[in-house]
């Protein structure tokens, strides 16, 4: 049961993800350089946050051409898990592995602060330790987290229960005020139809120690561990 944390040039949450998996959860984990294409030994791949290639063009638009991205469809087909956090989510969108696209935050500024998200689907590899409707407190840190998709795409996401997290207030209500960046339907995280590839904007790896202000991110990492154990 091996975790792999992908390192793109410009990734900057790779070390934080590795720290949580290795030092907090005591799970085997390695870095995977973005040019590596051998993924057989891994069971879960983390695409971390950061600014791959500086995000100078469009977030994730260059990283999606990295050799490792070509290997992800086969990895998913084998029923293994992939989680893209922040820039990782943006790369998955650019690669077409998740539907939709990111726009700039509606206030056109980078936003770094704690938010609340509500678990919309607890029957996933990433949320099996949560209840439906559970509220998690996690930080966001991004310029482009304003998720968008056409009506038909949104309908499909909802029908297939692919929306895993929505921004909410501390009471769990989905309101416009609790939507930090203008994202459609308060969407904070979605998964593929098969349910083994997640993209999430908030940072679970920044909220996995009480010392840092929240341990709610552990729900996600521990859910993955539990799911992998059972697999």
């Amino acid at each position: 049961m091996n975790f792999g944390v992908v390192v793109f040039p410009g990734s900057n949450c790779d070390q934080d993800c590795l720290y949580v998996i290795k030092d907090i959860l005591n799970q085997p984990v390695e870095y995977i350089w973005h040019r590596d294409m051998k993924l057989e030994s891994f069971d879960c791949i983390v695409l971390p946050g950061g600014f791959s290639y500086g995000d100078y063009l469009r977030t994730g638009a260059i990283a999606r051409f990295s050799p490792i991205i070509k290997e992800i469809p086969e990895f998913i087909r084998q029923g293994k898990a992939v989680i893209g956090i922040c820039n990782g989510f943006q790369i998955l969108l650019e690669a077409g592995l998740l539907p939709g696209a990111m726009l700039r935050n509606r206030n056109i500024h980078f936003i770094c602060r704690y938010v609340y998200i509500r678990v919309e689907n607890s029957e996933t590899p990433f949320t099996n330790l949560c209840r439906n409707g559970q509220i998690l407190r996690m930080p966001i840190a991004h310029n482009e987290g304003n998720y968008n998709i056409d009506d038909k795409g949104l309908q499909e996401l909802n029908e297939n229960r692919q929306v895993v997290f929505r921004y909410c207030n501390s009471e769990g209500e989905i309101t416009d005020e609790s939507n930090p960046n203008g994202t459609l339907d308060n969407i904070a995280g979605i998964m593929n139809k098969e349910g083994n590839l997640l993209g999430i904007m908030p940072h679970p790896e920044r909220s996995s120690e009480s010392l840092l202000g929240s341990e709610d991110g552990l729900f996600i990492f521990k859910s993955i561990v539990k799911w992998l154990e059972k697999r």
Binding site: N12, D16, W33, F51, G54, F110, A141
Partner: protein, 735 residues
């Protein structure tokens, strides 16, 4: 013979030119003249300040080390490296790129010591935001910091922002970076080992930034001058790759030295590395990677293109090091060799274009500058507070002060910065200082920047002492023992004797405060010529200080934590209003003398608070600063938005004017909160340290009430205070 117009246009004086002739025994080449002009500029060579900087103590409570580009302290096996640097003129000329490259430059100074950068702090000063140009500058600077800092993956965890008329026309952007390394892995900025290779890595060289350090940083800013071409352009993505590649290369132990090509670019890197290593160097300019064709040799030597570094690699290990940089898609090109003759020899296609003794080039002349007490001092220091009317409505005064841009919440700025990446930030922005745990140890470090420049304007010596004392107090309030600092001395034109008096007095103030409080000055930066046609800025000696918390579980924050806790004030409330925000905002007066500073009292208060926090007796601790006691109490109540908590302060010793009691800025005061049972023990600790102690009230409710004797002066709901304090800056800056 070089014409005077030419060397003068490069910023060299007649005497300096004569000295160059003496060193070389011949006329300088164009390249040599350019090299001398940048190396001897104030920015690189410190000819006007060096004599005075010797006053600063370099040792303190912990072992220190003073590197070429940054310094630090050693705690067990850990080196904590830090430095602050200014990027004022570039930011005034082109705010986004100026500030962004300021961030990039200081980060390079840290990781070239072999340390991983773990935190940034920004000390910013702008003109009043009611002027649209100042808003443009402020917004651009914040944008530049977020653009660069967020991408490069170093959290921006703290800093300060002040607004004053004196910064209209000359903003200040001072950036501090902190890094950590294993002490055995520290690298120097030196050439050593004859035959070692000199390898150029990073971005290519262009014409950007030529003369940045000499023409832009070492002269006053003119009214309508077009200096934008002197500002560099930042590329944080390349910088991020450089950090990773450099640290990977450093781990091989095959690099003998490394230096950023920042101010004065290749000239500075070659000559200073040769000089520091007691070596010489021979370089072929044809090999320098270019992004522009047809550059003259002197342009290549002067360019300040960003994200470039020079390595000294042991013979035979070149390929190993080059492979690491190439993995990160970074260019690595050997451009020369270390020699043993002490000469920096620059060739262009084989032809020698410069040949100068490294020591002579890096030893800038030292000037004994004239100084004279400024005439304004006597006039502004005169203030008879008896003639000031007392406010009728204290609630209104408090609300106005909470909305003053210098006091109000800086959330609209710091939420644009990633302050959590690297997952070390225990105390997020908004408390007295930022706190970062060090992974793999039980310790944390606290960091802050501080300077009230109005105090320095009214009394340069005392103002600088206060900057040191208050920075230390901020750290103490987090539970940290202050240990060392870096200073960024922002002043006017040193050639004017009254300005130089301010500089000299500030240095003396810092030196004396540091000696008394046993703090080491481990690095620093001098930024002169902060003048526009509107005049000079207030002297602004920014102090960036680091403290150690032995056990990261014992961190304290400024917010009240629960109902019914006892509120304690350490220190004395004196009848002094000079230099206060109250005097400026309410009475429109910048005058009087700055608050008194008794280092003995300061130390007693700090030792008390530190012991109380370390023993786990305090729930909160907050320094009293701008806006005085009333503002500090309000901040204890409202600055943790989700857990606001009121207080009834009904036991204050009065006996002085109520406005001085509430809004005076007497130094050496800390507000603590604790449970009832701890009061006696805290009183005893205060007595032992000779720190004045009083219980002033209790927490609870949804209002802040403050009494002077029988008279209730403040009675305000928390929501109203929060609304003024939290939203004022955002609405002003985004207008």
């Amino acid at each position: 013979m070089v014409k005077p117009e030419i060397y003068r246009s490069l910023g060299l004086t007649d005497n300096e030119y004569q000295r160059i002739l003496d060193i070389l025994n011949r006329d300088p080449t164009a390249t040599e003249l350019a090299m001398f002009s940048v190396e001897w500029s104030e920015h690189c060579g410190y000819p006007r300040s060096r004599n005075w900087l010797k006053l600063l103590p370099r040792t303190g409570k912990y072992e220190t080390f003073l590197g070429e580009d940054a310094g630090g302290i050693i705690v067990d096996n850990l080196a904590i490296v830090f430095k602050i640097e200014s990027h004022n003129h570039p930011s005034q000329v082109e705010p986004k790129q100026g500030a962004g490259t300021g961030v990039g430059g200081i980060i390079r100074d840290i990781f070239t010591t072999g340390a991983r950068p773990i935190a940034l702090l920004d000390s910013l000063r702008f003109g009043p935001l009611k002027k649209s140009f100042n808003r443009y500058i402020a917004r651009g600077v914040v944008d530049g910091i977020q653009f660069y800092g967020n991408c490069v993956g170093v959290p921006t965890v703290g800093g300060e922002a002040y607004f004053d008329e004196c910064y209209s026309g000359n903003c200040l952007v001072n950036v501090m970076c902190i890094g950590i390394a294993n002490k055995e892995e520290l690298l120097g900025a030196r050439f050593s080992g004859v035959g070692s290779s000199i390898i150029y890595v990073g971005a290519r060289t262009g014409r950007d930034g030529i003369g940045g350090c000499s023409v832009l940083a070492s002269q006053e800013l003119g009214e309508d001058e077009e200096k934008r071409p002197n500002v560099q352009i930042g590329d944080p993505f390349t910088e991020k790759c450089l950090i990773e590649a450099t640290l990977e290369a450093a781990a091989t132990r095959n690099m003998a030295g490394i230096k950023d090509m920042g101010a004065a670019g290749l000239t500075c890197a070659t000559s200073e590395m040769a000089s520091a290593g007691g070596s010489g160097a021979e370089i072929e300019l044809r090999l320098v990677p270019r992004r522009e064709a047809g550059m003259e040799p002197w342009e290549v030597m002067m360019s300040e293109s960003q994200e470039r570094m020079l390595l000294c690699v042991r013979e035979g290990k070149e390929e190993e090091i080059e492979r690491i940089f190439k993995k990160w898609d970074l260019g690595a090109q050997a451009i020369g060799k270390v020699t043993g003759d002490g000469i920096v020899r620059i060739r262009d296609n084989g032809k020698i274009v410069a040949e100068i003794e490294a020591q002579a080039l890096t030893k800038a002349p030292v000037y004994d500058m004239h100084h004279k007490k400024p005439e304004y001092l006597e006039k502004v220091n005169k203030l008879d507070i008896k003639k000031l009317p007392e406010p009728k409505d204290y609630n209104r005064v408090l609300l106005r002060l909470l909305a003053s841009p210098s006091i109000s919440s800086k959330k609209t700025i710091y939420e644009q910065y990633d302050h959590m990446v690297q997952t070390n930030t225990i105390t997020l922005p908004g408390s007295d200082s930022a706190v970062l745990r060090i992974k793999g140890t039980s310790i944390a470090i606290a960091a802050t920047t501080d300077c009230n420049s109005r105090y320095c304007y009214l009394n340069p010596y005392r103002g600088a002492q206060i900057a040191v004392a208050e920075a230390a107090r901020n750290l103490v309030c987090s539970g940290a023992e202050p240990v060392a600092l870096t200073d960024c001395l922002n002043l006017g034109n040193p050639e004017k004797p009254d300005r130089f008096f301010q500089f000299k007095s500030c240095v003396e103030g810092i030196a004396d405060a540091c000696k008394f409080l046993n703090l080491a000055v481990i690095s620093g930066n001098v930024s002169f010529y902060n003048e526009s046609p509107r005049g000079a800025i207030y002297p602004t000696p920014v102090i960036g200080m680091v403290g150690i918390i032995d056990d990261f579980k014992k961190v304290c924050t400024q917010y009240f934590k629960g109902e019914g806790h006892t509120v304690i004030l350490l220190g004395l409330c004196k009848e002094e209003l000079g230099g206060s925000e109250y005097l400026k905002e309410i009475h429109r007066i910048v005058g009087g003398n700055s608050p008194e500073m008794h280092l003995q009292l300061e130390q007693g208060v700090q030792l008390t608070a530190l012991e109380v926090i370390r023993k786990g007796l305090a729930y909160s601790a907050h320094d009293c600063s701008e806006g005085g006691l009333a503002v500090a109490l309000a901040e204890c109540c409202i600055s943790d938005r989700e857990n606001m908590l009121g207080a009834n302060i009904d036991k204050l010793n009065s006996g002085i004017r109520p406005d001085a009691l509430l809004f005076g800025e007497s130094q050496s005061r800390i507000i603590l909160s604790c449970k009832e049972d701890s009061v006696t023990e805290i009183r005893n600790i205060a007595r032992k340290n000779n720190a004045p102690f009083q219980v002033v009230g209790h927490t609870g409710g949804k209002r802040l009430r403050i009494w002077a004797g029988e008279k209730e002066l403040i009675n305000l709901p928390l929501g109203k205070q929060f609304e003024r304090w939290a939203n004022s800056l955002e609405s002003l800056i985004s207008n």
